[in-house]
Amino acid sequence: MENKDVEILRMLEEDAKLSISEIAKALELEEEEVKRKIREFEEKGIILKYKAVIDWEKVGLERVCALIDVKVAPERDKGYDSVANRIAGFPEVKALYLVSGAYDLSVLVEGRDMKEVASFVAEKLAPLERVQSTTTHFILKRYKENGIKFFGEEDKRRRLAISP
């Protein structure tokens, strides 16, 4: 991939609301070219979606998250993929990783409350064929997500408006 392609993606990853015109100017490209490239990224599934990062706590809507360690007996020829595919299908699952170490899959589950998360684990996740055990860690506080810190904001207002 060309450097400029990577730069377009980096800029959008940082701020998906940047306009075609701003990106074109910043990368010394023509607007048509940027438009075409972004369309290509979307068609190829390189850009999957444009989403907002929301601090739901500030909205007052409580959401409960848990990280669940899952031990799985891998399947002949398919390894972990087919069971992972079944787990990933549930909308409650926000993220899913195959990891090294004491267990196999790490699942991030989100629900309205603890009860909902717990029942998802008990009724959907744990009974799955090949799932041998689960350990649920409820998330108590979010400090940083997707590279964004949720606390200890830096105060940039002290920068002088005019300086040499």
Binding site: D15, E22, A26, L27, R159, A161, I162, S163, P164
Partner: protein, 393 residues
């Protein structure tokens, strides 16, 4: 004593020194709300976390004492290593490097160490605001040479030949430049170096923006053949590492010059703040990636701002480094800046703050996010359209 009597006590030199054009403008901006400022001479990034964390650690350890006048040995060694690695110039950390309170102090030391009363120092306009006052406070005379936008703000050595005289001791150069963003190629530096050799001049070279060079590789003038010993190389951590308020920089020079500078430093400053020295060590050891990321972002902003200025139709030289651009706007820069601030709440610095022959210029800093730059330029465009309409009426 009444006010008049007190005023009489002020030294002539200081009394006659004009207030910085920037300060005048600063007073105007203070108290105004919703201002987008493109008048800022420092990064909008916060110092990278690893550097801040190193500061906290040094404080926990209780490192709040004096250091040696020259600065911490470990820091001088890191500085020496980094210059040698990046540019192939060696300065002995033992006696050729002084850690200073920003490049500002280094500049003051350099001018005071070499200038005798009434000796002249060539200053190339448009120039950073401190050069002329520092030369004058050191009892020297600034010999001002003004570059022009038609030549891309580059030095024409033939013209320097016309102004240099027997009494000229040194010249101050600064690249990438504040306020123009212009930098020099190796060939251009060689011409300047030859000129300095021919007239036996010391070169004070302020290269604080070296790491923010966008289209080429920075060449320190001290790296050219046979010139090192007449160069006082000034650099610091403020710009590349976003450490302005930590006030930490350094000067490198032949040991005799360094020793002279150190004499002044030890009686006036004693040493640079130890906390900032620890920050600087961390910056040199582990700051490369952060600098690279910030530089890439500045480059995009540079491109953005340059195109917006071209679209407006200002005469402009594309900056190759630093985070400033210095367009000619065709009308009085002071008036423009004042009206723009009042009507559209966008702050820029009038061009004549950097040299009296740049009345119809402004300095725009692009140390702001693209989002802010977009808003600022939309407002500037509105403002210009309004002026145009007023004119036709």
């Amino acid at each position: 004593m009444n006010d008049e009597k007190i005023k009489e006590k002020i030294a002539e030199k200081v009394k006659n020194m004009p207030k910085s054009g920037i300060r005048k403008f600063f007073d105007l901006v203070i108290g105004m709300e919703n201002v987008i400022s493109l008048g800022v001479g420092e990064p909008d990034f916060v110092t990278p976390w690893n550097i801040r964390e190193a500061i906290v650690y040094s404080l926990e350890k209780g490192y709040t004492m004096y250091t040696s006048n020259k600065g911490l040995e470990e820091l001088r060694e890191e500085i020496s290593r980094s210059i040698e690695r990046d540019y192939g110039v060696y300065y002995n950390p033992e006696d050729e490097i002084i850690v200073t309170v920003g490049v500002s102090e280094a500049l003051d030391l350099a001018t005071r160490a070499i200038i005798n009363p009434n000796e002249k120092v060539i200053v190339i306009d448009p120039s950073y605001v401190a050069y002329k006052p520092c030369v004058e406070l050191a009892h020297g005379k600034a010999l001002v040479y003004s570059t022009n936008i038609e030549n891309g703000f580059k030095v024409d050595v033939d013209e320097l030949e016309r102004i240099v005289d027997e009494n000229t001791k040194a010249m101050i150069i600064n690249y990438p430049n504040n306020p123009t963003g212009v930098t020099y190629t190796k060939k251009e530096l060689e011409e300047i170096a030859d000129f300095a050799v021919e007239h036996d001049l010391i070169i004070i070279s302020d290269e604080v923006y070296d790491k923010l060079t966008y289209d080429s590789k920075h060449v320190p003038i001290a790296s050219l053949n046979g010139i090192r010993d007449r160069v006082i190389y000034l650099n610091g951590f403020s710009k590349a590492y976003a450490m302005t308020g930590l006030r930490i920089g350094y000067a490198c020079a032949n040991k005799h010059i360094a020793e002279a500078m150190l004499k002044i430093h030890q009686y006036t400053m004693l040493c640079a703040p130890i906390t900032s020295q620890f920050a600087a060590i961390e910056a040199l050891k582990n700051g490369k990636n952060a600098v690279k990321e910030m530089k890439e972002e500045y480059r995009r902003r540079r491109n953005y701002v340059y195109r917006r200025l071209r679209e407006i139709g200002f005469e402009v030289v594309k900056p190759e480094g630093a985070f400033y651009v210095y367009p000619r706007i065709g009308i009085n820069g002071e008036k423009f800046a004042e009206e723009l601030l009042k009507k559209k709440r966008v702050a820029v610095v009038p061009g004549n703050a950097f040299g009296s022959s740049y009345r119809d210029f402004i300095r725009i800093s692009f140390a702001s996010s693209i989002k802010e730059l977009k808003e600022a330029f939309d407002r500037i465009e509105e403002f210009i359209n309004e002026i145009k309409i007023e004119k036709t009426i």
